[in-house]
Amino acid sequence: MTSRRCSPIGDVLAIALAVLALASCAYNKGSVVLLPEKDGHDTAVVVTQGDKQVVLDRPYAAAQQTAFGARTYQSSEQEVAKTFGVALAAQPARPARFTLYFVEGKDELTEESRQTFEGVFAEILKHPVPDIVVIGHTDRVGTDPFNDNLARQRADTVRMSLISRGVAPDNVVAAGRGSREPIVPTDAGVSEPRNRRVEIFVR
């Protein structure tokens, strides 16, 4: 009486399965999944493996790197949660943004923006280790050097107000972007109140 388990064919199968199992451990070298963009902007990651290049530009488009080359596939929210749930849970909060507006040509806040400014302090309290970035902007009245300087002055003024209200100087940096990043694009020389602003990011 011979048992099936001991047949030579069974042995070969068992060995083949074991080899496959081992190979699959070394097979996967990693993967990349593009996530949906919350505000609907265009988004893409270009994945290069050896001489092969793949562009991921749709939600959950994925590339896997294997011992035998790159493979693209469609991942899903569930699969991402399973593999990346812990990493995603540790993602810091998005920077909270406040926008303050200025009187033309000055580093003085408009009346309405003085009230917005108060909201910044409530936000700071929500962050266990707050760091704050203040970025000044101008409209397109005046030369670039003048606007770079004015943007920085506006940011510095707001930074000093934050410090005078108890924010540690080490935790708040100021920068000026001049007229490079308008909310409302205009020709040079156009006075535009919505572009004369300071953005505060609480992170």
Partner: protein
Amino acid sequence: MLIARPLVTVLCSCWLALTLAASAFAQDIGQVKIVKGDVSIERDRQSMPAVAGTRLRTADVLKTGADSSVGVTMSDNSLLSAGPNSILSFDRYAFDSTTNQGQFDASLKKGSLSVVSGRIAKQSPDAMTVRTPAAILGVRGTEFVVSADD
């Protein structure tokens, strides 16, 4: 000479103070915001525990243990967070807050990583890369996850 010497001293100390102030800012490329479990930073061949609030510098390497994770906000508003048993290295980082030009190269030696790209990638597509042992990712934006298996 009698007049010049104090002047030189004053100028030198001003220059020194300015350089120190500038370098204090230049060195901080980001900040650890979230730490769960066992997370360490390797800097200048020394290992120290990472805590919420720790500021990062170029060439820092973050390591997470089992059941651990870490979340970081970079100065350009990029967000990076790594899951358990991960090694994440900040190879190169430069960011000009006036022009938003810069370069950010990170590498995930192993483990899992989630990324939300920031101002550097927004200003110049391909100015941000993430490397794994098996692939190079050019980041045009914005949110993605990447793993590197042993």
